[in-house]
Structures are given as C-alpha cells and as structure tokens.
C-alpha cells in the first residue's frame, strides 16, 4: 500500500497542516496509485459516484448481545460434550448444521445467515472487549477510539440525510462501558433512543410545526445584529446547524420513529419486547435512509444481560426467546421489502462463555470461538465459517480476528479502511489498522 496525502480545504503553515479536519491521508492500492489518477484519492472517486452509491445505499444493522452470549446456548452447541449443559441442539435450514433449541425461528432462517464460529480475540474483560470489538482498537487511555457507527456517520455526512446517520436503540446494560464517537467528535455520536416507540428526547417540537417555522424565521432575522458586530461566523455556523436540525425536526421521515402504523401481526412477529420492537424500528429507520443502526439486547431482567455468570440455565432461554423471533423476523422483513441486499445485518457480542459451567449454568468469560452472524448486503447466507473442537475449547478451523471483522464491515459499506483521520493531538489513526476481509462470506 502507498499513502498519498490529498489535502482538502486545509490551513497550511510552515510546520504543515494546522487544521485536523481537512487533513486526510488516503492510501491507494499500489496499482491504482501508479495510474494517471495520482491526485484522485479513493474518497474522491467515491464522491464522484455519490449518486450511484446512494442508490446502492448500503446500510448496517448491528444486533448487539450485551454481555457476551454463550455459544453453547446459541449457535454452536456441542451435543455430547460434558460442557454443553441442558440445551438441546436442533436442525436448521442448513443440512448438518445445528443450533441450540432456543432458536427455532432463526434455525429456519439460517439460509439467510453466514455464521462465523471461530472468532478469536485477546480481551476477556467487558470494558476492554467492548472497546476492541466496537472500535477495532484495544482500549487506550490515550485515545478514545470511535465506534464503527460513528465512522459510518462521518462517511455518510455528505449525503445530508434528514435523519441522523447513526442511531442507537436501547441502553447498554452498564453505561460505564459505553463507546461513542470518541476522537471523531460529538457530532458523530449516535442518536440515542432508549426504548423503541418513543421519540428521542428533544426531537418533537412542543408547538405546532407552523409555529416552529415562524420562530426559526424570526430567529434568523434577529441574528443580524450579532452578525454585524463580529459574530458573522458564529451566526453562519449556527444557522447551518439549525437548518439541518429543522430539516430533521420537521421531516415527515421522523414518522419512522412511531411504530403505531405497523400491522399488529408484524409487530407481534418481531416480539412485543424492547429488543423486538427495536428491530422493527431499525428496519423503519434504514428504510428512511439511516446508515447505521444498533439495537442492544440486554435481556428481560436486570443488568446481567448476556453476562450469565449466574443462573445460566434459567436466564439463557429468556434471553434467546427475546432475540430469536426478532432476529429472524427482521431478516424476513428486510428480504420481503427488497432491502436485505443493501443492508448488512450483524449479530454479535463482545466474547463468548467458558466451556466449564457452575451448577446453576453460570459461565465465565471466554474469548476463543465467539460468534458473529452476517446477513444481507451480498453475504452468502446458509454457510458456517470456522469451527471449534468437539468441546468448544479451541478454534480448530479458520480463526477470524477483530481486524478481519472491521475490514469486512468497511468492504461492505464502501469505506476505505486505510483512510486516516487525525486527532486533536495530531495523531493519525487509520480506520482499520490491519486484518483481512472474510472472503468466504461473499463467495
């Protein structure tokens, strides 16, 4: 790879670039860099094709299993192993592939899912693992790396959609471990919806739309005095932000947040749970042009979520019962609407659970052989990638790293993983440092 600096809209000083936002280091594949398009970076080519890409509109839904789901109770049961526990294995749409009995609907939908069973990472603590698998970088005291949704939001900003590019549905079970846009800046933080069905805070005007418009117009007139007294730049910045905000507040697309016009039958199919209705909302938002939606599953009780150290036998069926109908119905619904081809759906958590379990079924953290489900956006469903041994102790085939995961996300969403952004302390950071696209997904 070679790195080429394309300077866009940048303040230069003798020491170099002084404005971090405009400084973009674009890596070009060696072959491309050698052609006549030397000064034309990857991103420029992308902008040139913006309309086309917009039509393609690749989006992503992340179904986040907060706490680290047990592979034995989800998609990699080990019947006959002393580590399996009471969950039976059931047949699926893929001959010879079994999942745990708590996933009857997903089992039938497995032809839409490519299942990676061989994820390996080094992090077994929640905060470190969440940071790693949500940002692609190890937790760092020096740099708050951005979560992938923020990277997508930054990339999609140029499309100027009515709705925010990055929406998060549900609350993380423990907020001290939350990830956000970090060094990319607050403007790329997720738009947060605690519970599907309710509007995000401060989105709904407290007065009629006409009154909002009237006030916005008056406010712009009254900005004039300040603009003439040294505040011109502040007024211009404020008015640009207000126009974007008003476009969202007054947009008919805001109706996407209201689930009441969905058929009762479909709402039932998703499941009348926070996660189920969250998945339905995710589909509606993607339909209205949102680029990245994450839906958080924390289970029906407390803040243990998928972190089943205790009462695993009791908790796992409850957790799975919430996600199974939602996941499978989401895939079917997206497919019915012709949206699955343009939407990457990813099911994952921060790691998996230990083979050994306590008498109540509680399992500890384990970071070898965790799983990711991929669907849509060109992914060939109905396949299993990688494997663990008969007891689920070791990965025996095709280990996949977190870097591979992020390379794959980038490929699907047409984001250049080698692009660098520069932090406020002038540290250049690649969107993805290393890894290989999981080619089998698209074979």
């Amino acid at each position: 790879m070679r790195c080429e600096h394309v300077i866009l809209d940048v303040d230069m000083s003798p020491e170099g670039v002084t404005s971090r936002r405009g400084f973009l280091c674009r890596s070009l594949a060696a072959g491309l860099g050698a052609t006549g398009a030397m000064r034309l970076g990857w991103h420029d080519l992308l902008v040139a094709k913006a309309d086309e890409l917009r039509k393609a509109g690749k989006s992503m839904i992340l179904l986040w299993m907060d706490g680290g789901p047990s592979q034995y109770d989800t998609f990699n049961p080990k019947p006959g192993s002393k580590y399996q526990g009471p969950a039976h294995a059931i047949h699926t749409a893929i001959p010879g592939v079994q999942v745990a009995e708590y996933w009857p609907q997903t089992a039938r939908a497995l032809h839409k899912i490519a299942l990676v069973r061989s994820m390996v990472s080094s992090e077994k603590e929640h905060d470190r693992a969440i940071a790693l698998v949500r940002t692609g970088y190890p937790l760092s005291p020096a740099v708050r790396y951005p979560t992938f949704g923020a990277v997508v939001a930054r990339d999609r900003e140029r499309f100027e959609a009515d709705l925010p590019s990055f929406v998060r549905i549900g609350r993380p079970r423990i907020t001290t471990r939350d990830v956000d846009a970090g060094v990319l800046g607050v403007r790329y933080n997720p738009f947060k919806i605690d519970e599907a069905g309710a509007l995000p805070p401060n989105l709904a005007p407290q007065v009629e739309a006409d009154v909002v418009r009237r006030r916005l117009a008056l406010s712009e007139r009254l900005d004039a005095e300040f603009a003439g007294a040294g505040g011109a730049a502040a007024v211009a910045e404020k008015q640009a932000v207000y126009r974007r905000t008003a476009r969202m507040v007054l947009s008919p697309r805001v109706g996407a947040f209201d689930l009441s016009d969905e058929p009762e039958k479909l709402r039932d199919a998703y499941g009348r749970t926070s996660f189920g209705q969250g998945c339905l909302l995710a589909r509606r938002l993607i339909e209205q042009g949102v680029s990245f939606v994450e839906v958080i599953s924390t289970g029906p009780v407390g803040d243990q979520g998928w972190d089943t150290h205790k009462l695993g036998f009791e908790q796992n069926p409850l957790l799975c019962n919430e996600v199974d109908p939602a996941y499978s119905t989401l895939l079917a619904d997206l497919a019915d609407r012709g949206m699955l081809d343009n939407t990457l759906v990813v099911w994952m958590g921060e790691f998996c659970r230990s083979p050994k379990f306590k008498p109540d079924g509680g399992r500890e953290h384990y970071s070898e052989g965790w799983q990711v489900g991929f669907s849509g956006a060109g992914v060939r469903g109905g396949q299993v990638i990688g494997a663990t041994d008969a007891d689920g102790l070791k990965v025996t085939d095709r280990p996949v790293s977190v870097g591979d995961l992020f390379m794959t996300f980038c490929q699907v969403l047409a984001i250049n993983p080698a692009e660098e952004y520069v932090t406020a302390d002038r540290r250049p950071i690649k969107i993805v440092e290393h890894g290989e696209v999981i080619r089998e997904l698209f074979g």
Partner: protein, 548 residues
C-alpha cells in the same frame, strides 16, 4: 494610579529582559539546569527581578497594541458588552437585570475596575473556574469499569481554593501529591480517577500543567517536538508507588494510597512479552531521582519540578488558558499544546504575562485583574489568527449555557431521585440534573480548539424543543414564568421588549430589533404569542451561546 510615562518604560524593560535571554520560547528550552537556590528564600536581587517582571494593565495594553489586530482603537463597541463579558469570564454567568441597572447608573470612571473587583470577590468566581478545571481534567479521564465518577467533591474543593485565591502552584502541588479518599481529600481526584496509572498520569500531568504533549512519546520519540521515549517513561516512574482503588458505583469512595516498593518498567517495544526496562524517575532536564524512593518523595519532587519558578512552561500553560478564555484565543491553540513545533501568536505578550504570573507567586486573581483591567479587554479586543480574521467568537462552556438559562429565563435545575443499586440493577447510572443535560449537549473539552468542538444538532434540539425549557417560554399569566410576569409589569411593547433583551442577552435592543419585534407583534395580533416567539428566538440566537 499608573503614571502616563510608565507603560512605555515597562515595555522597554520587558523587551530588554527578553533580549537578554529570558525568552522562554523554543530557542531556550527549559532543560537549563535548575537553580540550586530554588528552595532558599528569594534573595534581594531576585526580589527586584520579580518586581520588574510585574506588569500593569497599561503595560500589557502596550504589548498587545503592537500586535496585528491588537489595537483597542478598532474595537469601538466593547464597553457596552463589558459587563456581560466580564461576568461570564469571571463568574460564569451573565449579569442580572439588577446588576446591569446598577452598572449603567454608575458614572464614575472607576466603575470598570470596581466591577472587576466585585466579580473577583464573588464566591461564584471560584465555582466558575472550578468547573473549567474539572472539565479540563474530566474530559480526558477514561471511564473506569463499573464506577461512576463524581467530580462534585473536586469542584467544591477547587471552588473554595480559587475563591480564597490560593496560588496556582499550591493547588497543583495538592492535585499531584494528595492521598486519601476522594470524598475526604478531593485533591486526590486527579491521581485517583486516573486509577493511579503512571503512563496516563505522565501524559496528563505534562499536558494540563505544562502544555507539553509528551503522550506520543509513550511509544516512540515525538514526531514533531523533541520528546524522547525514555523521557516519557522517566516521568511515568514518579507515579510508580501510588495506587488507587476505585470502588463499584461510587467514585467519591476512590482511595489513593502509597505503597512501599515497586519500580516502573518501560515496556519492551521489540517484544512486549519480555520484561521492560526499569526506569528511574526523571525530569525532562535529565535529572534523575535515585531508585527506591518513597511515593511521597517521588510525587513531592515531581510537584517541586512542575511548579519550579524556572520551569517556564508552568506559568505559560496557565496564562495561555486564561488568555484564551478572556481574549478569545490562546497564544497557542489548542491551548494544551505549547510544543516546539507550534507557531504561537503574540509571543512577547505571552512571555511577559507568564513572567508576571511567576513574579506574583502564581496569584490567579491578580492575573485576571491584570487582563480584565486592560483597555483591550474593556473594549472587547478579540485576538484572532491573521489567517482567520473571521473566526467565530468563543462559545459559552456547558456550565455557562446553563447559567445563562438560569439567569435569563429562570430555568430551574431539576434532579431526579437517585436510584439505589439492587440485586437486579447493580450499576444504576446516577441521575442527571437539568444542568447535567445541558452539559451533555453544550459541554466540550476546554482543551480543544473551538473549531474541533463545533455547534451540534443536539444543542439545537435542546434549545428548540426541550420540554423543560419550553415550559419557561410561556406568556400565559397563570404560568408564573419570567415572561408572563414581565408582560404583566410592562404593558408597553417596547418597554417589554427592551427588558427581555436585557434579561436574556444582557444588552439593550437596537432600533432595528425593536422594529422587527413591532412588526412581529402586529402581524401576529397576539401579544403573548408574539413575545413567546421573541423569547424563543433570543434563546435560540447565535449570540445567546456566544461570548462577545
């Protein structure tokens, strides 16, 4: 009183000092050996040197006037906005209606100085700058696992210290050396909330208190500045024997303690699995502390060195930040990067200010007094980069935005009840007050250049639609809001409009603005609705959240 001839002399004296090599810029980096007499009481010549280093407002004006854009002549309108500016800068809020009336009624030429004194004497001064310094620390503290950090104790402690005008070197010494439980010894917050992590503390100590970004040197020699990797790890070694314990949920119960043994190891870059090299604590000037020293000795030596009078960056880092908030831009931007490779503006003024601050024994209120009493400050001179003459005025900090709403429209601060941990919900996040919510939207890391903390849609949504705020934009008499009372008391539209501007924007409405308001009232034919629109527009104006 300052004699007319004095400023020029002062300026010459300062320039002479600079020419004699007192300049502390990149040309004379600070690894000059420390003065041996540092701990000895200042000798007579030193006292005289300290006196000559002190500035008057007029001398500072003379330094500023020589800079491009620094002349107070050009800034004509400033006096009108002086009270709002000084109130935000010193006590973190806009002046009340009463304060504005008193200021307007005062005719003495002393009134500007008197106002500065009144504001400096206010308890709000300490609280305001405690917010600033807490933010400066907190925005870079990595969120710890399962603990909700509480900056309440530190804010309260800092507010008291700043209000009683404790010198900056003493405050910093406390922050670096404190031991104990955060609730009881709030100064322990800095080390404790960083989990006593040596590398983290090395980077942050140097960044916050010296404006030196050595964080990059953790893994490699600094790409632009001259820091070497070993220097970073020698600094980290000062924190080798301090430990922190962060309990679940409650940050205030964090405890900082010293341990009796242990040395700091610099990781082996070639092979991270191998044992790293043991580092002696060392300053950037190459002096090393002997091995085996106690935590008290290590952190005490570190504090000595950071706050040493001949460590130029200590005073430069502080004055740079205060200048940035009071004059619209730091000599260096971002304000926490005074590295060799940076190109500062107005270096003479910065050097003189830093020398003044050192000569006064790091007297914080004196520094504010000096700046706020200059002609440049009074008239609203805004320092700008020559290349960026159209730069936006500073935006208010998150706490200032809340204060503006509290003073301007009487927005109450509501805190929901605290949720206690239970078996099922073991880690309930602490409740958010109205002030917290405003800070979530409008707060920004004070170390960022304004361009890196732009206005956001979350801020616009807050002002446009927040229910609690919109409840205050209600003209109905039974609502009891500020607006409803104002309209009842001021039956004349112009009078009502003028008062609204004074309350909300802390200035008089212009003729044009009164005319726009007239038109709006007439078109709508509903006085209450028209004034609701007007108030909404003022709160949603660019000016409301700007420092002018």
């Amino acid at each position: 009183m300052v004699k007319p001839g004095r400023p020029m002399k002062f300026r010459l004296a300062t320039l002479t000092l600079l020419a004699l090599g007192f300049s502390l810029g990149p040309a004379a980096p600070w690894f000059a050996p420390r003065l041996a007499a540092q701990t000895v009481a200042a000798s007579a010549p030193e006292t005289r040197a300290a006196e000559t280093a002190k500035l008057t407002p007029a001398a500072l004006d003379a330094l500023v006037a020589g800079q491009p854009g620094g002349s107070a002549e050009g800034a004509a309108d400033g006096n009108e906005s002086f009270l709002r500016r000084a109130s935000f800068d010193l006590i973190g809020r806009q002046p009340t209606l009463e304060e504005q009336r008193q200021f307007a009624a005062e005719t003495s030429p002393q009134k500007y100085r008197d106002t500065v004194e009144r504001l400096l004497a206010s308890e709000e001064f300490g609280a305001n700058w405690a917010d600033y310094w807490c933010d400066t620390i907190a925005y870079r503290v990595p969120p710890p696992e399962l603990t909700y950090l509480d900056y309440g104790p530190l804010k309260k402690w800092l507010a008291a210290k700043l209000s009683e005008n404790t010198p900056w070197n003493e405050i910093v010494r406390d922050l670096l050396t404190a031991k104990g439980k955060v609730d009881d010894v709030p100064a322990a917050t800095f080390v404790g909330y960083h989990d006593a992590n040596p590398t983290n503390l090395a980077g942050e100590t140097s960044r916050i208190f010296l404006g030196q970004q050595i964080g990059c040197a953790q893994c490699h020699d600094h790409p632009f500045d001259h820091w070497k990797r070993t220097q970073f790890h020698e600094l980290a070694a000062f924190f080798a024997r301090v430990k922190a314990k962060l309990p679940h949920n409650d940050g205030g119960a964090t405890v900082v303690t010293s341990v009796n043994k242990g040395e700091y190891l610099m990781p082996n870059l070639e092979d991270p699995r191998k044992k790293g090299s043991q580092m002696q604590p060392g300053f950037f000037d190459g002096q090393l502390l002997k091995k085996g020293q106690s935590d008290e000795r290590r952190r005490g030596e570190l504090a000595d060195w950071i706050t040493a009078r001949d460590n130029p960056w200590f005073a430069k880092a502080f004055t740079n930040r205060i200048w940035a908030r009071t004059m619209g831009r730091g000599f260096y931007e971002p304000v926490d990067d005074l590295g060799d490779s940076r190109r500062p503006l107005w270096t003479q003024a910065h050097d003189a200010l830093a020398r003044h601050f050192t000569a006064t024994g790091y007297d914080i209120k004196d520094l504010f007094r000096l700046i706020a009493n200059t002609e440049a400050y009074r008239r609203g001179v805004r320092m700008t980069d020559a290349a960026q003459t159209d730069a936006a005025p500073l935006r208010l900090r998150g706490d200032e935005v809340f204060a503006a709403l509290a003073v301007g429209i009487e927005l109450p601060n509501v805190t929901p009840p605290k949720v206690e941990p239970t078996g099922a919900i073991r880690f309930p996040p602490p409740p958010k007050s109205t002030r917290d919510l405003v800070n979530d939207a409008f707060g920004a890391d004070p170390s960022l250049s304004p361009v890196d903390a732009p206005r956001t849609m979350a801020q616009a949504l807050w002002m446009m639609n927040n229910e609690q705020l919109q409840n205050e934009i209600d003209a109905a008499p039974e609502s009891g809001t500020m607006l409803s009372r104002l309209l009842a008391a001021q039956q004349d539209d112009h009078a009502a409009c003028r008062e609204l501007y004074i309350r909300v924007l802390a200035r008089a409405a212009t003729q044009d603005e009164l005319r726009v308001a007239d038109e709006h009232i007439k078109t709508l034919g509903d006085r209450g609705a028209a004034f609701e629109d007007l108030l909404w527009s003022l709160v949603n104006s660019a000016e409301f959240t700007s420092r002018r």
